[in-house]
């Protein structure tokens, strides 16, 4: 039960002022500028955009600064801001095959058209802390090499020629693309809604679930068919213009996970796929998403649903960190009246328990006598 209680106004106002002070910290240290966050904490900005479900670097940077670096608080701020804006419409689906690629690797084919492009990756670093970053040593310009012109097909297109892999996920012709920001979620979900939920889901939660599938909780024998990161064009149809309007470009990470499948009565043995698509440079998230997507397709393939990662309602209902933090953190808000009621209840039960015990003791004594 919730009862309005007054009296906290001054304390709340002073707490906010104190928060502002602590956020700023030592005044002799220069204040962070948003462009510094955008440029130098870029992957943190990307995470806030992905899970805040809003592509806007400056806003994500502002949210990180305001939240003192608390990522889930920053994501919460971005989600709250989103709701204040009118919606102009849905873009045309982005074409990741036409991406301006900044990184692209495949674990399944060594020599694939377009090649393996490592890009700005942490892979192959030694994970040794670098004191030069602490001292602000100037950084050299990157190397350049003449780029080969040419099409860089998605790996799935290469395998598709042999018929050994399922096609891109199709939904019935008359299917209306679901949108969980507009309609309440009702289980079971179609794959489009599941992917939307996963794309904005908590990276840590999805990572742990993805890991659980590798450790045997719903095994899916995965290979990274391809991870690609880069910029794609975004266009939208509007009534006032006879062509799709170009809006600019966004950076996304795409993962095609290829999974073994032993076949079923309906489907011959072949490779199946999990898909990940996330705002920004966010390889871990895209990979975890693709593993979860595949695990959640268990029913579709007639596989036994035995592991948490295969349980759609469990995964989707708990993947949103704004919902999760809201419900967990609300426990610290005043529950004085609830607790008083519980206290009365426990006292009553305790009294009954003791009375019963006294009665039992007496019976035992009487029986003994």
């Amino acid at each position: 039960m919730y009862v309005a209680v007054k009296g906290g106004d001054a304390a709340i106002s002073n707490a906010h002022q104190l928060l502002a002070d602590r956020r700023r910290g030592d005044r002799s240290v220069p204040a962070l500028r948003l462009d510094q966050i955008v440029e130098q904490l870029a992957l943190g900005v990307d995470r806030v955009m992905a899970e805040g479900s809003l592509y806007d670097r400056e806003l994500a940077a502002l949210a990180i600064a305001q939240a003192r670096g608390d990522m889930i608080e920053a994501i919460f701020l971005v989600r709250a801001y989103r709701t204040t804006l009118p919606r102009f419409g849905y873009t045309l689906p982005i074409d990741t095959a036409a991406m301006q690629v900044e990184r692209r690797v495949s674990a399944t084919y060594k020599d694939l058209p377009g090649g393996q492009l490592l890009g700005p990756t942490f892979d192959y670093t030694h994970r040794l802390l670098d004191p030069e970053i602490a001292t602000g040593t100037p950084v050299a310009e990157p190397e350049r090499r003449e780029a080969e012109a040419g099409w860089m097909p998605r790996v799935s297109e290469i395998l598709a020629h042999e018929g050994l892999i399922e096609s891109d996920g199709e939904l019935p012709e008359d299917h209306v693309t679901g949108d969980l920001t507009r309609e309440p979620v009702e289980f079971p979900l179609e794959r489009d809604l599941r992917l939307q939920a996963l794309s904005r889901g908590d990276e840590g939660f999805l990572l742990a679930l993805a890991y659980s599938t590798q450790r045997g909780y719903g095994r899916s024998h995965p290979f990274v068919g391809e991870v690609r990161i880069g910029e794609v064009e975004v266009e939208i149809d509007v009534p006032e213009l006879p062509f799709a309007v170009p809006l600019g470009r966004i950076r996304v990470t795409e993962c095609q996970m290829v999974n073994q499948f032993k076949g079923s009565a309906k489907v011959p043995p072949q490779f199946t796929r999990g898909y990940g698509l996330v705002f920004g440079q966010s390889e871990r998230k895209a990979m975890a998403m693709s593993l979860c997507d595949r695990a959640l397709r268990a029913r579709e393939f007639g596989e036994d649903v035995v592991a948490p990662a295969q349980d759609e309602e469990f995964v989707i209902s708990h993947s949103d960190n704004v919902q999760a933090t809201g419900f967990v953190e609300h426990l610290k808000l005043p529950h004085y009246v609830d607790f008083q009621a519980e206290l009365g209840l426990v006292r009553g039960m305790r009294a009954e328990h003791e009375a019963r015990k006294r009665g039992d003791d007496q019976e035992t004594r009487e029986a003994a006598e």
Binding site: S156, T181, L195, V234
Partner: protein, 156 residues
């Protein structure tokens, strides 16, 4: 009749390409080029500039059925310039002045007598800078390409 339709198509393609250059442009760069060219800033605002959201769609597996995967901020404007032409602008982000100038540019572009000026002073410089930036990025990425070679093992 046939040539009319082709002309119309070409004109639409040219207009779309100009709008693409404007939407990709950093706001500060567009504002600087605008001042440099001494182009007019006043126009009748018919809608906006206003900021809103678009829901971005991808495709399952890259090429399958569409799904929504997040929103992006977009700012748009519609204006009428002297002479009556109506211009539209849409661009990612929240830069209202950029949207306003882009809409004026789109309106002026539709005026055959101003098109060359807009192309030369605004669109071409923006496009050239974007091409250079893309080429640089591609070259930097290409330098991280793995050149596999196979070690020969054993005799012969």
């Amino acid at each position: 009749m046939k040539t009319d339709r082709r002309q119309e198509r070409e004109e639409a393609a040219g207009r779309k390409a100009a709008m693409a250059a404007l939407s990709h442009a950093p706001g500060e760069r567009l504002k600087a080029l605008w001042v440099q060219a001494g182009l007019p800033r006043d126009a009748q605002k018919l809608r906006g500039p206003e900021t809103g959201l678009v829901t971005v769609r991808g495709r399952i597996g890259g090429g399958g059925a569409p799904f929504n995967f997040g929103e992006a901020t977009v700012t748009r404007a519609t204006v009428r310039v002297e002479g009556g032409a109506v211009g539209h602008a849409y661009a990612l982000g929240r830069d209202k002045e950029k949207a306003l100038l882009s809409a004026i540019a789109d309106a002026l572009w539709q005026d055959a007598s101003r098109r060359a000026e807009i192309e030369a002073c605004i669109i071409e410089p923006l496009r050239a800078e974007q091409t250079t930036a893309d080429e640089t990025r591609r070259a930097e990425t290409a330098a991280t390409k793995v050149d596999f070679f196979t070690m020969v093992r054993g005799e012969d």
